[in-house]
Amino acid sequence: MEKKMVLVVDDDADMRKLMEVALQATYRVISASSGKECILAVAKEKPACIVMDVMMDGITDGLETAKLLKEEKMTKDIPIIMLTSVNESYDYRSQIDANFFPHDTWLDKPVKPARLLMEVAARIG
């Protein structure tokens, strides 16, 4: 059976590499390094799941991109896992309506490879 595609979005080249390594045995991994690149990649091929860093190009790049995806009919059903550096000074969760974006979609960086694999599998099998 063909592997499902996971889109990994992070401006840190090493993080992208590490996430690819964590997921590549089970999934086909495409990576992007900014919100803009993420949108382009999604337009090219719809991923089964997206893993995205909250802060990339600018303090809320990831967040805004996720909102955009959730508002589009074609992409709103794609599960998005948000990665955040636990940072009390900027509470992203308060920026979002809980119904729009459930709390369990947040993972605190750094994520252990096994944990990342488990979270993705829990959403798309």
Binding site: A13, V21, S85, N87, P113
Partner: protein, 373 residues
């Protein structure tokens, strides 16, 4: 010109007084040229202190209050004191029939901003309103500025935390992989991240030291040409790795009153950037020229350049231009903000000329202070 409407309430039991004030203020505009703001007034009147306090309790409040000292029931002074107890901060001008010092003093102690002695002319009324309005506008601006400052600091700290945690997360990830598969080739990447983090911490310390003004400055006669030569030597290895030629041209000696470590930071950041963002086999030219009343320093490179739309934010903290040409080039994002702070310390100016793919040139002009001798 920004148009601002302020609400003004007049509390006075004489209807003629209320009507008079309304008439004077309905077409009254106060223009603050220096602040770029024009103010107009929405006026309402109340007959008694009680009526006013009731309105306050219902959650409404004016920006400006004209309060008669003598009222039936609670008088002006009592109303002022009750406002104070409720912690209502409304800029208040007291209208007093008896312009006695005692009344003015009690009113001021209770928080009144100004007072008008009856009988007053329309001109006197406008004058008092203008003073009170200026107070309101300035206070609002001060508060907005404080809020903006806090927001800027907040964002700086958030990005900083992210920038410090990212290399650690990457290192931790690589350590995990090495535990599982010790043969993995990732030591070079790990080294690169460690160096990047060290550079970030050093730059951060430099930046905060300059910003806080707590670094003691040693302003001595320094030869900026010699400092440039020294910095170029320090960057020789990086230049060699990219086949970059670095030249110092112009004056052979140029003495200026400066702090040596600041000059080193300034030149260090500009020259290492010029080397980093260059093409293989490219060139960096540092030129120092002494002109009447100034010293002009320029650092030019044949590198990847900076697009016009990216230039505005280049000197901001953690500003990193991320595009296909900068992919793979590491940096703290603080170098140019350090440069711009140091330029500020000398009352100098910095100009950037650059276009994507056609190299960049940074020109700093230092005003020369008159020689002591």
């Amino acid at each position: 010109m920004k148009n601002t409407a302020l609400t003004l309430w007049i509390v006075d039991d004489e209807p003629a007084m209320c009507q008079g004030v309304l008439r004077v203020l309905e077409d009254f505009r106060v223009v603050f040229d220096d602040l770029g703001e024009t103010v107009n007034y929405k006026v309402a009147s109340m007959e008694s202190g009680e009526a006013f306090l009731e309105k306050l309790d219902s959650g409404q409040s004016p920006d400006l209050l004209l309060l008669d000292g003598k009222l039936p029931g609670k008088d002006g002074i009592e109303v002022l004191s009750l406002m104070g107890k409720k912690r209502q901060q409304i800029v208040t001008v007291m209208i007093t029939a008896y312009a006695t010092l005692a009344n003015a003093v009690s009113a001021t102690k209770l928080g009144a901003f100004d007072f008008l002695a009856k009988p007053f002319t329309p001109a006197e009324l406008r004058h008092a309103i203008t003073r009170a309005t200026r107070e309101i506008i300035l206070t609002r601006r001060a508060r907005r500025l404080e809020q903006e400052k806090r927001q800027v600091r907040f964002e700086f700290l958030s990005v900083l935390a992210h920038e410090l945690k990212s290399p650690l997360a990457a290192l931790e990830g690589y350590v995990d992989i090495l535990r599982m598969e010790p043969e993995t080739d990732c030591l070079d990447r790990m080294s690169a991240r460690i160096n990047g983090m060290r550079k970030l911490i050093i730059d951060l310390l430099d930046l905060t030291a300059i910003e806080s003004g707590r670094r003691p400055r040693n302003l001595l006669d320094e030869d900026i040409v010699a400092v440039a030569g020294h910095v170029v030597t320090n960057n020789a290895q990086a230049a060699k790795a990219g086949g970059i030629t670095v030249n110092v041209t112009g004056e052979t000696v140029c003495i200026m009153k400066a702090d040596r470590s600041e000059l080193e930071m300034l030149l260090g950041n500009l020259i290492s950037n010029a080397i980093k963002y260059n093409v293989n086999g490219g060139r960096v030219t540092v030129n120092i020229s002494e002109q009447p009343g100034k010293v002009v320093l320029s650092v030019a490179d044949t590198g990847i350049g900076i697009a016009k739309e990216d230039q505005a934010r280049l000197f901001g903290e953690f500003a990193r231009i991320k595009n296909s040409r900068t992919k793979g080039i590491e940096g703290s994002g603080l170098g140019l903000s350090i440069v711009s702070r140091i330029v500020g310390l000398y009352g100098a100016s910095i100009a950037l000329t650059s276009e994507a793919d056609s190299g960049s040139s940074f020109v700093i002009t230092f005003p020369c202070l008159a020689q002591d001798t």
